[in-house]
Symmetry: C2
Subunit: 348 residues, 2 copies
Amino acid sequence: MANGRVTVIDIAKAAGVSKSTVSLVLQGSPLVNEGTRTKVNAVMRDLGYVYNRGAANLRQSSAKSKIIGVVVNDLTNSFFAELAVGIDLVVQDAGFVQFLANTSESLDRQTEVIASMREHGISGLVVSPARGSRAIDFKALVSAGMPVVAVVRPVPGAKVSSLMSDNHTGMFTAVEHLAKLGHARIAFFGGFEDTAIFQERLAGYRDGIAAAGLGYDEGLVFACAPSRAEGAKAVARAMAAADRPTGGVCFNDAVAFGVYDGLRARRLEPGVDFAIVGFDDVIEAGTSVPALTTIAVDPQGIGRRAAQLLLKQINAGKAEAEAVVTPVRLVVRESCGVNRMKPGRRSA
Amino acid sequence: MANGRVTVIDIAKAAGVSKSTVSLVLQGSPLVNEGTRTKVNAVMRDLGYVYNRGAANLRQSSAKSKIIGVVVNDLTNSFFAELAVGIDLVVQDAGFVQFLANTSESLDRQTEVIASMREHGISGLVVSPARGSRAIDFKALVSAGMPVVAVVRPVPGAKVSSLMSDNHTGMFTAVEHLAKLGHARIAFFGGFEDTAIFQERLAGYRDGIAAAGLGYDEGLVFACAPSRAEGAKAVARAMAAADRPTGGVCFNDAVAFGVYDGLRARRLEPGVDFAIVGFDDVIEAGTSVPALTTIAVDPQGIGRRAAQLLLKQINAGKAEAEAVVTPVRLVVRESCGVNRMKPGRRSA
DNA sequence: CGGATAATTTGGATCGATCCAAATTGCAAG
DNA sequence: CTTGCAATTTGGATCGATCCAAATTATCCG
């Protein structure tokens, strides 16, 4: 009041009730009489009252702060931007607001922002962990009973919930697709060998090769950083070998576009002279030439589901770690030849 | 303590000092003895103390909440994702954390999230307003003395600071570029006529036309929604006319890609049969075929500057509205012909 | 060594809400 | 008119920090 700030007490005075009653109205309690409720609400509007959640949180458990933290490793990557949008959608509907922090793959940044979010009293956390994250990075949160959902990348050993896309099936399906088109020598391009995702996708590749009745050849696996530039180099190595592959699956779409580049540098046309399947289905996959056949993972859907899982745990008050695997699907476009009817379109 | 939660009092007891001293340590006050400081810090570490900013904020002005709000109209657009990253970078360094909300151009959502952020005690707000935002939407914030910085889009009549890119000069430069290449009939594609940005860019276009000694022809302005699909339709209209343009500037890159599509539908090759300049320089601009000549606006830089401006106002304690215009620059690629040095390939 | 001065430390009071046990009111039945 | 019971309302106490004026301790110097 003197401060210019309107409090429950000001409202109480103006409405001729006690602060307790105002508080009850604020919480939508059924105990308060309908007449008083409307009166109090009217006064709040008139005085321009702004609810002070900080004060309220002081008395309530942190589960009621109505804040969740979201930490992503690379927001400039549209995959993660979509993920954040999916989370945002769900948490806004639930009346929550989200702290969003980008770590740029820096573990130090990640530690900092998580600590900061904790100080601010988040009710839960969705995190797409920075590369190299370890269980210990989330130890404090977990032992404090805070619900944590890791997305996209697993955190080995951490007792947190997780929501990953089905990497194994995705890559298996990609290989199957190429095999059906008659390819017998199928390469695997890109990815860091020391990550869990790489291992899952590679396993899917191996199993796909086996299921197609082809022999697994370690010499056809070309690991590299999952970037366009490295993808180009990887395919160069592949095509320099004696017994060349005729097609390949890629760790992600960026690598796939690098493979495009690498092939063209050798005067080979992607989709004609060499078949390529990507992973992720980024926006450019639909507009590139040739449009990229790839494994779609629906990042926004993952975001939504992760947020729902987190909210469920927050409301339950108990953080039982559970692991969810979300389905992926093959989107056939033009990078494996054929299908020259439609210009490739992106799925929703 | 009983609650499982460690407070300043617990620390005080364990360290054998008063809670006031602990508070002083927390604030890094120079009044406290070096010995006690290290002792208190040690105890805090041992007991796993987590600072409760909510409690602290109760006694301090909202300028010290160390939270800023960021509201963007479309986070799935990489332009705005980059913007958010720029803001994040600066606020993290300043020890702030950001609420990030996506409005998807919904005014209702915008009103909701801003109210929610206010309840949570933000120190300031950076907003890329949803289409149709009016001064009244920010009235409450402004009259409460909260620093607000509008980016990318202006809010006519609102007493908020703003950070816009130099739309006029950008479009002027684009026209100048085409005129220098010998184009005499230059069209303008895309944009909603009732937006301030459209008017600024159109003015830059007109002035550029005049400066080149060409006559302004209203029939060469093809306004439409700033999307790829609409861009395609707009160029179709342009090419159906009697006196066709030979090149055009576009409201943004999305429209420019639509123009690509529209031209190809008429069996015209962009960059060869028709010259195109975009606006924004989105990531795809560099990888499209032909690579798009466009006006680069550096969204991340805008985000950084906006955050700096906001922090300045928060620290000053006074929110003087100021308007900043950030420079843009022409990035010449292949969509206006020539420049066939690089390995850029194209269909025959 | 005494007194002034500087350096530290400290106990309420306080911020703005919620919680809880207790008080008040309303109303129908006896 | 009471009494009993449900429906409402209410006054502290409280959450975990900061602020402030005042108390305590250390240090300096003639």
